[in-house]
Symmetry: C2
Subunit: 217 residues, 2 copies
C-alpha cells in the first residue's frame, strides 16, 4: 500500500499505526503541510480535499478520511482485530475514537489555525490557546468515560487494542505538541503508556518520523 | 429505544433518520440546547460530554457519537443495509460521511460559536460567516467527489441509500439553517432531493420536529 502522510499529521499517525499492527507493508510519501504541499497538483490529484492522509491499495482509487481507512484496514486485514465483536462494544470503541476524530482533532488542524489568524487577527499564541482548549475538552470527555466505565481495561475497551487506542495515542501526541497539561488525566496516561509499549505504535509515532524535531517523545 | 435529541441538532437528525429507515420504534426526549439543558444533571448523567445525541437501547449504557450510533443501528438491524458489502465501497461511504461528521459539523456547533464570541469578541454575524465558510468547504469537497466519481448514482454511492446520504441530508439542513448558497453544488442538491423523497428521512428532518420554527424546509 501507499500512504500519503506527514510526521506531524495525527490522522496519518493513526493509519501508520494500524498498518504496522496488522503487519501490512507500505511506502509513505511525505506531503509537507508546513510548505503547503497538500495544495500542489501532485497531491490534489490524489485527494482534492487537500487533507491527509490518503491511502492507495493496489489499483483502486485513493482512500481518505482516517477513520474510514482504519475500518477498511480492519475489514481487509482482520488479524489482529481492531474492533470487538458485539455491536454495543463496537459502538463504545467507535464513540471513544470519534470524541477525538470528530470533536477535537478537526478543530486544531492547520486550516483552522490559519483561518483564525486571517479572519480574526488572532496571534499565534492565542491560536495555540484555542488548540489547547479543545484538546483538553476531549481529554476531559475521554477521562470521564474511561475512568467510570467498568469495560475499560489495560486499553480503552478491555485488554484488546482497538481503534479507540490508536486514536488515543494520536490525541496524546497532539496534547504534547501543543503542551497541554495531561496530568489531570490518569487513565488517559495509563492507556497511552500501554499503547506506546507496542512496537508498531511506537514506530508510527510522529516524533519517530522523518522531518520531526529531535526531542523526546 | 430512547433517543435524546433536539430539533436543531443535525447529529440527532442522522440517528432519527436511521431509526425511521430501519423501522425501529423509539421515543425522543428533547434536550433544548438553546436553554443549556445539555448541561443539566438530567442529561449529563446520560452523556457526561453534554453533546447530542445519545441513544439508549434496552438496559444497556447510553450510546453516543452519531456515527458510532449509526453503525450500531446498522449492525443490530441489518435491513435495509446502510453500508455496501465490499470494503472499498464501505470506505468510500464512510469517508463521505466523515467529511461532514468530522470536518464540517464539529466546527459549527453551539460550543464553538460561544467560544468564538467569548474568547475573540466575534459578533453573531461574523460567527455565522465562520459557520458558512466551513459548511461551504465541506460542500466543495462533497461535490468534487460526488460529481467526479463514477460510483455516484441516485444516492452518494450507487442507487442504495447509505450512511453517507443520511449525513448529506443533515449537511443540507445545516447549510439552509445558516443560509449557505448551495446552488454551486448540483450533485449535492440532486442527492438531497432523492433522499427527501424517502418518508423516514423527511419525517426526521429538523424542521419537522417539535419546537422547530414554522417555515418551509
Amino acid at each position: 500500500m501507499k500512504l500519503y502522510g506527514f510526521w506531524r499529521s495525527l490522522a496519518a499517525f493513526r493509519v501508520r499505526a494500524a498498518l504496522n499492527i496488522k503487519g501490512v507493508p507500505f511506502e509513505e510519501t511525505t506531503v509537507d503541510l508546513t510548505k503547503g504541499e497538500q495544495f500542489a497538483d501532485s497531491y490534489t490529484s490524489v485527494n482534492p480535499q487537500s487533507v491527509l492522509p490518503a491511502l492507495i491499495d493496489g489499483d483502486g482509487p485513493p482512500l481518505f478520511q482516517s477513520m474510514a481507512i482504519l475500518e477498511y484496514i480492519d475489514e481487509t486485514h482482520p488479524q489482529p482485530p481492531l474492533l470487538p465483536k458485539a455491536p454495543r462494544d463496537r459502538a463504545r470503541v467507535r464513540a471513544l475514537a470519534l470524541i477525538i476524530v470528530a470533536d477535537a482533532h478537526p478543530l486544531v488542524i492547520p486550516r483552522i489555525r490559519n483561518y483564525l489568524g486571517k479572519a480574526y487577527d488572532v496571534d499565534e499564541r492565542t491560536r495555540e490557546d484555542w488548540c489547547r482548549h479543545w484538546i483538553a475538552q476531549a481529554c476531559n470527555a475521554l477521562e470521564a468515560n474511561l475512568a467510570s466505565d467498568p469495560r475499560t481495561g489495560k486499553f480503552c475497551h478491555g485488554d484488546m487494542l482497538t481503534l479507540a487506542d490508536i486514536c488515543l495515542v494520536g490525541h496524546m501526541a497532539g496534547a504534547k505538541l501543543f503542551e497541554v497539561d495531561v496530568k489531570p488525566y490518569p487513565t488517559f496516561n495509563r492507556i497511552n503508556d500501554s499503547c506506546m509499549k507496542i512496537e508498531g505504535i511506537a514506530h508510527a509515532h510522529p516524533l519517530n518520523q522523518p522531518g520531526a524535531p529531535k526531542r523526546a517523545a
